[in-house]
């Protein structure tokens, strides 16, 4: 693994952290970030189909972070039952009828995101050789 590839796990961890921050803000202050739903839908799309047969276009639609190799590997590391559970929580945060129910599911989604973030950081923290260079 090169530093470039390794650092992409950190970038993935940071993407998750930004989502977590947005969810925390929603839980604590009731403020929903403008693009929160769109981002949660990207995660949902990835969580639902990770590991399955797909097309190049569908992969691009998962977005830069969740459609990356590092994103797919990290999500694929989760047990499929956990992935299913996370998908349900995210669906609820997006569509549940009452704010209370949305916040309750958001709190549980935060726990899943913490797991994803720490897994990505774990992969990042493994030692590796150097960054991209003009030759191999």
């Amino acid at each position: 693994m090169t530093t470039g590839s390794r650092a992409r796990y950190l970038i993935f961890a940071l993407s998750i952290r930004k989502l977590t921050d947005a969810l925390i803000e929603f839980v604590e202050e009731g403020r929903r970030a403008p693009n929160l739903n769109a981002q949660l839908k990207e995660v949902l799309a990835s969580v639902k189909v990770t590991g399955r047969t797909t097309s190049v276009k569908a992969l691009r639609q998962r977005g830069k972070s969740f459609g990356s190799y590092e994103g797919v590997v990290t999500i694929d590391d989760m047990r499929s039952a956990d992935r299913e559970s996370l998908a349900n929580k995210l669906r609820s945060v997006i569509a549940a009828k009452t704010p209370r129910e949305q916040k309750k599911n958001a709190l549980q989604a935060i726990e899943f995101f913490d797991v994803l973030e720490s897994r990505a950081l774990y992969r990042y923290n493994h030692p590796a050789p150097r960054v991209r260079s003009v030759t191999a």
Binding site: R17, K18, T53, T54, R132, S133, T135
Partner: protein, 461 residues
């Protein structure tokens, strides 16, 4: 057991201390050593982002106690922030080492000036840092820029300066000229990631989907792996072609020097020879040289260079024939297969040739001046005269940067013995040492000529 608030205070203070040391390093810049403006921009940004992170940390402990269920997640954020700052930390000292006295500034300015002439690249800038590797590298914008921007998003700070790329060069090669032509390739990486990647990705996706359609279906991991390989190889070829379109064949020859590919001249093909191998992060050198040769022919450079007697020229010439021995030594999905994957790569190379040549026309437009001035420059160099201003058929002419770069490279490849013969000393030195010393002089003259060229272009126009 410590109370949560005490633990959070301790964690925040520890990170604060870590970042404070980094910020102080940036703030400790005075009149000497002197840094380029882009280096200062980079260092100033790190300092500012550090101060913003420190402000965030000062408020952090009070925010953690707000709700018990979110406290652990919030504390994890400190861990991620620290890892992010470690990335920036890695490039700080190498950037501080690269002051203007330790950089080939005239060459960098010349390449940057040419890049700025390309439509859409006027704002592109580069910060150089020193690397302990004997290699040239570009830190993918996804690393420093995205990391810095993510830190900024998490601490409500300032975003990274736009269009600023980070490029590394060997710390010992600041006075080198010929090898440093490779910097053009690294600058091309910045241009690619900032401006061209999206368009090229569309073409990669189309070629890859055609490959996928020939299989019975592929998983997301397999497609991403295949796409990753193609993207990395295509980016390397893009940067090679961009460099040739920007400064001409000098770039190819500098790559041949760095990789030791002169070994390919005149030797028989060895199956295990790594020059023929595609690996995870780079296409095979032979495949790259094949693309160089085709582009040089397309642009019109090759008619002149094919007659130059140098092993570098032979390497390029032989690349077409050698490409039948190429092999892939990276993991590709079994369902695609090596032959199909190579075919897809070459199809993309052909597309890139048209694409890049359509975007960057600098070196091709310099060919007529090169043909006229290069023999004169060669004559000047053989008499140890810096050819900033030359007389061609009784008229004063001022060679452009591209003409100078390629003329110096040509002289380097075929003219050194003539120079040594003309400036012979009383006590002859061992041939290798004499050759090396004259190359060093030649490199100094090249940097001087480029500096004069820049000055003259401002004065004369």
């Amino acid at each position: 057991m410590k109370k949560l608030s005490e633990t959070v205070l301790h964690e925040s203070a520890a990170l604060y201390r870590f970042i404070d040391c980094i910020v102080r390093r940036c703030a400790d810049i005075h009149e000497y050593p002197v840094y380029t403006k882009t280096s200062r921009d980079f260092l100033n940004h790190i300092e500012r982002l550090g101060d913003e992170t420190k402000s965030f940390l000062e408020q952090f402990p009070s925010s953690v106690g707000r709700r018990r269920e979110t406290a652990t997640s919030k504390r994890r954020k400190l861990h991620t922030l620290r890892a992010s700052w470690e990335v920036l930390h890695e490039y700080l000292e190498p950037a501080l080492d690269a002051d203007t006295l330790r950089l080939p500034t005239p060459l960098i300015s010349a390449i940057q000036d040419e890049a700025h002439k390309v439509e859409g690249l006027r704002a592109l800038n580069f910060t150089l840092f020193h690397s302990d590797e004997v290699n040239y590298l570009q830190v993918p914008s996804g690393i420093v820029k995205e990391t810095a921007d993510s830190i900024a998003a998490l601490v409500h700070g300032t975003r990274f300066p736009p269009n600023l790329g980070l490029i590394g060069m060997p710390y010992s090669q600041s006075s080198a000229f010929f090898l440093n032509c490779l910097l053009t390739h690294e600058m091309a990486h910045v241009a690619y990631q900032e401006f061209y990647e999206v368009e090229v990705s569309v073409e990669i996706d189309a070629v890859l989907q055609a490959l996928v359609d020939e299989t019975t279906g592929m998983s997301d991991r397999d497609i991403i792996s295949a796409r990753g390989l193609l993207e990395r190889w295509v980016e390397e070829v893009f940067c090679d072609l961009f460099a040739i379109c920007l400064i001409g064949p000098a770039y190819s020859f500098s790559l041949i020097e760095l990789t030791g590919a002169t070994l390919l001249a005149g030797s028989t093909v060895l199956m295990q020879d790594p020059f023929h191998s595609f690996v995870e992060y780079h296409p095979a050198e032979v495949a790259r040289f094949r693309a160089h040769l085709r582009l040089l022919k397309k642009l019109g450079w090759w008619d002149e260079w094919r007659n130059v007697r140098a092993c570098h020229v032979e390497v390029l010439e032989a690349s077409e024939e050698r490409s039948s021995s190429l092999r892939i030594e990276a993991d590709i999905p079994r369902s695609i297969g090596e032959a199909g994957f190579k075919k897809a790569f070459f199809r993309l190379c052909e597309w890139l040739m048209e694409y890049v040549a359509g975007k960057v026309r600098a070196s091709a437009s310099a060919i007529p001046a090169f043909l006229r001035q290069s023999p004169v420059i060669s004559e000047y160099l053989s008499r140890a005269i810096v050819p900033s201003t030359i007389v061609v058929r009784g008229r004063l002419e001022y060679p452009t940067a591209i003409v100078l770069i390629n003329s110096f490279f040509r002289f380097y490849l075929e003219g050194i013995p003539r120079l040594i013969g003309n400036v012979e000393e009383r006590e002859p030195k061992p041939v290798v040492r004499a050759h090396s010393e004259f190359v060093e002089r030649l490199e100094l003259w090249a940097l001087k000529a480029l500096e004069d060229c820049r000055l003259l272009s401002q004065v004369v126009g």
